[in-house]
Symmetry: C2
Subunit: 296 residues, 2 copies
């Protein structure tokens, strides 16, 4: 039964790729993002499709090393390698790439990526708790809005941003509800199932459908009787981003008989409770408050 629901997610990447190609043919724009700090609400409000681009595969690293130093982290080299070899269809379809000043390596990588695609780099403040950091981050989100308007030739209204905020808030609640299923002992989902469902959302061309799939999964799994598996070690996965392609630790842990019951990295619990406040007067400020609260 679970298998059927998971299929919606495990095939999401391929299905969405075809849909994105179709959407592109019909004039829709695609924006590639690399980091959880990117306020994808603005991309949705611009009528474009946000797609996640983090490099989780080692194949293109050798090509990246022709330009980047070999001692950079594999995530950066994989990301750039996909771009420079044009082997990532989501990068290929992107009209604009959004980067962030996450680390020196990414800063340099985004500099040279501009030779391949239009790239907009958001300036993250070093500290999150200083008043001037907040002002700077509000300005950075306004700067992103202007760049999106210019690059995609649209005007982004406050009403559209509020709608996108509601959509992403729903998405976060749905993913969190799915993660929370694993508070049960034994857990309801394997680590690989959890990863497949949460990771696949980054490639979705239709947020509404993806949220419905997540909610169905939660209802269905929640209604099933708990399976009477034997007690086993319950493992929390934390640290750097994990995606399909870098699931080695999850596979090894579960092959050894333990459960990965939760993930606490940037696509996991670290950000799942963050909701932009829909009650404010300025949606940009609401986004700034939400994203500056990311504890990375």
């Amino acid at each position: 039964m679970l298998g059927e629901f998971m299929e919606n997610f495990s095939q999401a990447r391929e299905i969405n790729l075809m849909r994105i190609k179709e959407a592109k043919d019909n004039g829709r724009k695609v924006v590639g993002i690399y980091c959880t700090y990117c306020p994808q609400e603005l991309i949705l409000a611009a009528g474009a499709i946000p797609v996640g681009l983090c490099g989780m595969n080692e194949n293109p690293i050798a090509a990246a090393e022709e330009t980047l130093p070999r001692n950079l982290c594999p995530l950066i080299k994989s990301s750039y390698g996909f771009a420079v070899t044009d082997t990532c269809p989501f990068f290929h379809f992107s009209d604009l790439i959004i980067g962030e000043t996450t680390c020196d390596g990414k800063k340099k990588m985004f500099e040279i990526m501009q030779d391949i695609k239009p790239v907009h780099v958001m300036q993250l403040p070093h500290l999150s708790n200083a008043p001037a950091s907040f002002a700077l981050w509000v300005e950075e989100i306004r700067r992103l809005k202007s760049r999106l308007e210019e690059e995609l030739d649209v005007t982004i209204s406050d009403a559209e941003i509020w709608r996108a905020i509601e959509m992403i808030n729903q998405e976060k609640r749905a993913i969190k509800a799915m993660f929370d299923l694993n508070q049960a002992d034994p857990p309801r989902l394997t680590g690989m199932e959890m990863l497949t469902a949460s990771w696949s959302r980054s490639f979705s061309s239709d947020k509404g459908e993806m949220i419905a799939n997540l909610n169905n999964l939660v209802d269905e799994v929640g209604a099933q009787p708990a399976k009477g598996k034997a007690k086993a070690a319950r493992v929390l996965l934390t640290g750097c981003p994990v995606g399909l392609g870098t699931e080695k630790v999850i596979r090894l842990t579960e092959d050894l008989g333990a459960y990965i019951v939760a993930m606490e990295n940037c696509s996991g619990y670290k950000t799942l409770e963050l909701q932009a406040d829909p009650a404010g007067s300025d949606p940009i400020v609401a986004l700034a408050e939400k994203y500056l609260a990311i504890p990375c």
Copy 2:
């Protein structure tokens, strides 16, 4: 003749070390700095002695590599190595260390340096030309002022900051006048002489005396008849910081018969024309304008 003037500078490090020890015994405070972005005017206004700490010597690198990754740059490893082995007397005498978020390596290094000394890290904005960057940098300079007041147990008045601004402006003019001597062909100073005089100022316990020495040097050398050396290649040195201990490129260039006529790194022309405007109403804003204009 030149040799006599240069002696004032080449022995400055040792002489100042004795003076700093004496000053410390009499209750004066010392603040160690690593980067040209640090507004040393505030340290002077606090009645303390600013000393430059950049690590230009490879001896302590092995000790640093016990803690830091080996692929970090030698400047960072040398700086941390001096600190952790307690082999830099200027670091030893420092009551407070001021760091900056110049790069990921330094950010991490300053984090662990806090186990050895009190460290204050200034948050540099990633971009210098955004309005919010300026507001953030003003706040960072105010935060430094508060930390200095707290750590050194003093109150820093605006009048003292204005006096320090005038002093540092004079110092910059004096160093620039010295650098400008080398517009002459053949140049009046060798690269090593220029480096010795400009670098030594970082260790001075008495800015007034050091400025006088620089002005004397400029007057004396300017009054001497130009030496009729043969024409040779005139080389501009740019890029990363160079100090006594990392003068290899200067020595090699001049051994090969060319002139190093100018240095354009962070202690050279890149910052020599920057003057804080003494006519403003808020000396912190004047400092923020000056330091944010550094093109690093």
